[in-house]
Amino acid sequence: MNGDLLQGFYLALAPTSILATALGALHGLICGMMPGLTTSAGIIILFPVTFILEPTTAVALLLGVFAGGMTGGSFAAILINIPGSPSASATTMDGFPLTQKGEAGRALGVSIVSSFTGGLFSFFCLLLIAPQLTKVALQFRAADLFGLVFFGMSVISAFAAKSLVKGLLSTFLGLMIVTVGMDPLVGTARFTFGDVNMLAGIHFIPALVGLFAIPEIVANLAEGNIRSVASRFGRVFPSWADIKKIRLPVAIGSMVGTFVGILPGAGGPIAVFVSYDYAQKVNKEPEQFGKGCVEGVAAPESANSSIAGGALIPMMTLGIPGDPITAILIGALLVHGMAPGPLLFVEQGPFAFSVLFSYFIAICSTATVAFLGLRVIVKLLSIPRSLLLPIIVALCVLGTYALRNSFFDIYVMFFFGLVALSFKWLDIPVVPMLLALVLGRQLEEHLRVALAASKGDISIFFTSPWCLFFLCLSVISFAWPFFLEWRVKKRALEKASASAPSSP
């Protein structure tokens, strides 16, 4: 393991990897910053480029986008009061008031430093936890793996949607699409309608490009506004007084963000608002929050950034994506023939560790690029969308087509774009469907292999301790939203009864 760790470190330190990470960080900062262009879209845009790169360099590039995107989201939140990504929404509360006071540079500097510290904390958690978790995961058999994948999907279904029914519908519709093509065990053609393109199944890359990029393009077209940004914002690097002020909020944000990041489907917005709330509660002057205080920027930004490292833990060790971006990263790794999961550390140890160290370099690159290029990067907020949108569509086409040189994939992308728009209209989340597309084949395979091993006896899922553990967690994740709803209603009733005039 130590040899793999060292080799991984050297791989991540290769000049091409460092350059790729820095370029990825720059791209991520820009994509995360532009409202309507998310980090996911940033990764999708770079897909075609990764096809020509070595796996290590390709992953370094994408991790750069991931880390950069998480930091970039705050720039628009601070400068124009519009979060570049949902996870940057809490940053607007104090970031924009600071800009209004003429202290945009201070807010941006604190945001970059907090993001860097949060990312660093989550990297060390990743480095410490991932190898240990891998050892446990290597003991899993088919039934346990089924339980694990089922848990990953159930937790996303439960937390990604306002309605559990809609979350589950999204998951099962995704599983339905996964069944198209060759049966994973016996190779029978299913739902192919005699079409040779369908035999290989629906590749999830065109699907995820359609699910994420097309709705963003349509939403941007509907909004159609162009913003201008103040180009003067004074000193950016935080003062020593500010650094002292943000120590505690950053610590809170880093811990909350990493923990929430590990939980599949919990989502960035939860972490940023929870850490903002805690930071306010422990602050000596909580009334300053919301009026433009640096602690209100530091807590959510460190949480936002540390989510990335947290989400990489289940992705790398169990093959379960913690959020949409890690789901897309799994897709990118699979394209390069690397399947994330415990076996990756055994069979491709140096590569697996290079991913972890590339994340570290991505955090450092993001901070460096952000400080050095901030004044130029924020000017891009003024790029007219009329030019940006056709470029995104063209890049989506290039990435999708390059996958298998097939027009079929371009049509699949458009089809999934329409599906995503219909889902938006119906308030059905697309993330569970994406996860089903990534994990669905594994779920079916593990389920059927486990049943074959037990000769069709379903008790195998309840006698294996790990499988039972994951199934119990799935039940809890299904019950949790109902419990929260019940608790909110109960509190509201208690408040109402307490405020009602007492009878004489």
Partner: protein
């Protein structure tokens, strides 16, 4: 949301019944004791049917508070005066047409036309800027991906 849930539920239910029907045609048994290729699609169909019934029930319950057919219209944010559903629909249609045109005319010929059309739809009205960007940017992408990255680009059946 009530009416939307009903419309969505009916469409998904119809689609699932068709899918389930096709699943019945799949082989039931394999040579081993493993469940056959039909097993997973059966599970999926049953689950979706159950969930769709719940969605329909939610939809019927939500009808009391719904605003009738007006609920079927997409929401319009009140904060953005520039918001236009017609522009979004036009952009989507253009994107669909572009994907279709790619198979006939290839990337090189269809992309500048698409760029010009989408830029015009998104509000760019300066003819010189529109024309210059619609030609230069796709050309840059074409040569970047074909010559530098050496990736295959869509080639049309009529024009390469």
């Amino acid at each position: 949301m009530g009416l939307r849930n009903i419309v969505g539920g009916v469409v998904i239910l119809g689609f699932t019944l068709y899918y389930g029907g096709l699943a019945t045609l799949l082989p039931k048994r394999t040579t081993t004791d493993a469940p056959g290729p039909h097993f997973f699609p059966y599970l999926i169909s049953i689950s979706i049917i159950a969930l769709t019934v719940m969605l329909l029930i939610q939809g019927v319950r939500g009808l009391k508070n719904s605003g009738g057919l007006a609920d079927l219209r997409p929401e319009k944010p009140s904060t953005n005066e520039n918001f236009s559903i017609a522009r979004a629909a036009a952009g989507l249609l253009l994107t669909g047409l572009y994907f279709f045109a790619l198979s006939m005319f290839g990337f090189f010929w269809s992309t500048p036309v698409f760029f010009a059309a989408l830029m015009w739809t998104s509000g760019e009205r300066r003819p010189l800027v529109l024309l210059a960007l619609a030609i230069l940017v796709p050309m840059f992408l074409f040569f970047l991906f074909r010559d530098l990255f050496q990736l295959p680009l869509p080639r049309g059946s009529f024009l390469g």
